[in-house]
Symmetry: C2
Subunit: 105 residues, 2 copies
């Protein structure tokens, strides 16, 4: 048995992406941020749908077709359809933000 809250590096130059499950049509990842944001002008544009929830920390998720970012706290989740362009405006600079993401077709 493993924990999503353990093995969090004390420092992270980049966001940490770990694949927990990889199957034909689904991939489950833990993502850990420590203050990172998407690069200026960068938008994720994915082939897969994504269900993403924050488990610890906080972050602001910006959808291209929305004026304001969604500020997410633990328990908040969003379903991002394939090709819905989005970016992370900021993540909590004071500690680890832990995301669980399920990518699926």
């Amino acid at each position: 048995m493993q924990s999503l809250f353990e093995n969090i590096p004390a420092e992270l130059p980049d966001e940490l992406f770990e694949t927990l499950v990889a199957a034909d049509r689904v991939r489950i990842e833990r993502i850990v941020s420590r203050g990172q944001a998407s690069p200026e002008g960068f938008w994720y544009d994915q082939e897969e749908n994504e269900f993403v929830v924050i488990l610890q920390g906080s972050a602001a998720l910006r959808m291209e077709d929305e004026d304001a970012p969604r500020v997410m706290k633990p328990g908040d989740y969003v379903v991002i359809p394939a090709h819905a362009r989005h970016r992370v405006e900021w993540s909590d600079p004071s500690g680890a933000t832990i995301w669980l993401a399920v990518f699926y077709h």
Copy 2:
């Protein structure tokens, strides 16, 4: 945006199962327990693989091929292969236990 920690009924005669995502090969559910356990002698035997994590509360997950149950706390996750028989021995009787489950082929 919705939260996995909101809209928790104060009383639950039975466990609450809510489907958050239903796609061809993946289903994401929030499950809320308030002290429930699997019925005596009952084993889940599923066609799908399951990734399950506890987000709040605690519970004991028993795999048929293991002697002792796995006592799970928030952040703990387990991957249960299809047809691996399992049951919930107990869930925290003092409050809501919140699970996030991803079923996939």
